[in-house]
């Protein structure tokens, strides 16, 4: 009896829940399961872009391909926003069924994930300023010049090869908008990216042109978890069908991307040449050990950049911090108010935003080199924090010490330099070292303004071999090698200085 009433109650609860849900969910979701697909709406048109009329809705050719696949599978497409650089890792975890976001085919991806047949073929091309049209036709013309691309792409591999062959200087960006705006500004001399991005870049910057020479060929594919082989095979069938009946053609025509390369690609794929299409434009992936050996010098170089940047930024932060703290303790009312505002604004806004403003936002006024912008950004940000430490420490020096200095005839400046400052420094030393270690790690943020430091180099390495295990461990070890001696040094200095 008891169990019966339990069952009735459970059943009625279930019916209630089902009814409630049916009112919330869209009508066609009642019977059909979802196809969760991952993409990065930050990538923008023509890939995946938030609809300007309804930002909760995405549009783009990858959106239409996802819809095409979902319909073929009898499912409802559901978009999952994923940062572009996390697509591989999240696909491997199975956070979504398929990743579609202008993802390049590569041997590393094929080795670790279930990858669909290609659905689009693109060429890597060179974009330059119109004025340099005749000067920079190919990478070989750009010896000693800065050439930009996105990290961890086929174009990046092309640039790394050109670095040793032609002496170009690769610069990596996190997004595909700023390479072109920086090219227009003259910060860099060329951009290598796929022509879909290059056409968009030239459209947005009237002073740029694309060179006709093809530097390489790549393909866009979908990414699935390695265990999703059967689903991938069904999707491949759906893609072939869409190639045959012209639905893919219609999608790419709608987005002005259709060209003569596509029918040739489709013909090869429909003739059963899946392997040919996948043939890499790059060398076969090296073993993890071999790749690590290859990347080690680059990692150490990047670690040196991290160290130099951190030390220089900390120096700036300490000097500026002392000035700010002195101004807040000794300055006139307006000076105090101004410095307080500075500290609160800097502490209250993200460092990432400050770096963006400094490097990209001010680019039309002053074009700081990336390293200098990084140094100033980190230094002035940490200066706000240091100044608070120093202010606290200055105010913690007992008033008796200041009275004693005053009655001996010291001026305010002498009191600060001879008595208050040195005593405050002892109090500030521990939090300062703490901040230096934090800065060492925060310096990884400057990769957003194209400085390749340790973390960025690691993520390039990880993308190249398709795994974070070895690169992550190596990167952590190098950071520890830098921060542990620092912590020890600080403890020794503190011991030497610490007297009550």
């Amino acid at each position: 009896m008891r169990s019966h009433s339990h069952c009735v109650r459970a059943a009625s609860l279930f019916v209630f829940l089902a009814l409630a849900l049916s009112h919330v969910a869209p009508a066609d979701a009642q019977s059909r399961p979802e196809l969760r697909w991952g993409g990065d709406a930050e990538g923008g048109a023509p890939f995946v872009e938030a609809d300007p009329n309804d930002p909760s809705h995405v549009v783009g050719f990858d959106v239409e391909i996802a819809t095409l696949l979902a319909e073929g599978l009898g499912r409802v497409p559901r978009f999952v926003q994923v940062g572009f650089t996390s697509l591989d890792a999240l696909a491997a975890r199975g956070d979504f069924d398929i990743g579609l976001s202008g993802i390049e085919d590569s041997p590393a991806r094929r080795a670790r994930l279930a990858v669909t047949i290609p659905y689009y073929e693109f060429r890597e091309i060179l974009t330059v300023r119109a004025a340099d049209r005749d000067r920079f036709r190919t990478l070989a013309d750009l010896r000693g010049r800065k050439v930009a691309t996105l990290g961890a792409t086929l174009a990046y591999d092309l640039l790394v090869a050109a670095q040793s062959r032609d002496g170009v200087v690769p610069v990596t960006y996190e997004d595909d908008v700023h390479p072109y705006s920086d090219l227009a500004l003259g910060r860099i001399d060329a951009v290598v990216l796929d022509e879909v991005l290059a056409l968009r870049g030239v459209r947005r910057n009237a002073t740029l042109i694309n060179q006709p020479a093809e530097l390489g060929v790549g393909h866009y594919v979908g990414l699935l978890a390695p265990s999703q082989g059967p689903l991938r095979d069904r999707m491949n069938e759906l893609l072939r069908e869409a190639m045959r009946d012209g639905r893919l053609e219609a999608i790419f025509k709608r987005w002005n991307m259709w060209n003569e390369d596509q029918p040739r690609l489709y013909a090869r794929l429909l003739a059963g040449a899946a392997s040919e299409a996948a043939a890499p434009a790059q060398p076969a992936p090296a073993s993890a050990w071999e790749a690590t050996r290859r990347y080690l010098p680059a990692l150490f170089r990047a670690a040196v950049i991290t160290l130099i940047l951190s030390c220089a930024s900390m120096f700036l932060a300490v000097v500026a911090g002392v000035l700010i703290a002195s101004g807040r303790v000794y300055g006139s009312r307006p000076v105090q108010a101004l410095l307080t505002a500075y500290v609160e604004i800097i502490r209250g806004t993200p460092l990432l935003l400050q770096l963006f403003v400094l490097y990209f936002g001010l680019a039309s006024v002053v074009q700081l080199p990336a390293f200098v912008a990084a140094l100033i950004g980190l230094g002035l940000n940490y200066a706000a924090y240091e100044s608070e430490i120093y202010r606290g420490a200055l105010e913690a020096v007992p008033t008796g010490q200041l009275d004693a200095a005053r009655t001996l005839g010291f001026s305010n400046r002498q009191t600060l330099v001879l008595v208050r400052g040195p005593q405050a420094f002892r109090l500030a030393l521990a939090p300062m070292t703490n901040d230096f270690v934090a800065l060492l790690k925060d310096s990884s943020l400057v990769s957003v303004i194209t400085v390749v430091e340790l973390t960025k180099e690691t993520s390039i390495f990880a993308a190249n071999i398709g795994s974070w295990v070895v690169p992550g461990a190596l990167c952590a070890a190098i950071y520890l090698m830098m921060s542990l001696p620092l912590a020890r040094l600080a403890r020794r200095i503190e011991k030497g200085w610490r007297r009550p």
Binding site: T407, L408, L418, V419
Partner: protein, 231 residues
Amino acid sequence: MSTLVLNSVKVHRGPREVIQDVSLSAASGELLAIMGASGSGKTTILRALAGLEPIAGGTIDIDGIQLKAGGLPRGALLRDLHRRVGIVFQFHHLFAHMTALHNVWLAPVHVLRRPRAEAERAARALLEMLGVAERADSMPHELSGGEAQRVAIARALAVEPPVLLMDEPTASLDPARRGDLAATLRELAAQGRTVVVATHDAEFARACAHRVVMVEGGRVIREGRTSDVLE
């Protein structure tokens, strides 16, 4: 002639008048004890003399300069004041990050612009005179209360002020040491200085002071020769 004259001095702390119309004087070579219970205002008088407390009324004349009502002394007046007045605080306030010797030569070098070597020699001589030469290289926290007090006296004397103020000098001393200090202070006065000591220790005042001023509630209630006042 008196080196030190307070004329109707008032000190306010917020709305409270903590020193009310205090008038007193001390001549060079004289050791004056300001006596009273805790909170009577004796320390405030010393702080006003040392330029650490603004006076709200009256005047203070010290060896040719005059402090008046208004803010704290500043600029040239402050410099002149500190060439004339040295103070030893109850808790000494030795600079915590320097050795005893460094504490003593710091002001001669940076305020009087004496050469470092000369100032250091003079500082050693002062520590020698006060019997703490062997603690010259110790840090303040390594010193006993009595030693720290002697170093603080040396520090105050290093700029050669004609007036030396001491706040509660016996607070950090055991009874045996009080006699030594009394002798030292009498000797400093005998060398021509004006020494003003704020204390609540009648026995100590009897042992060293020429004259005593009794304060209570911020007013002078009695004044005279030590033997007369401490009858």
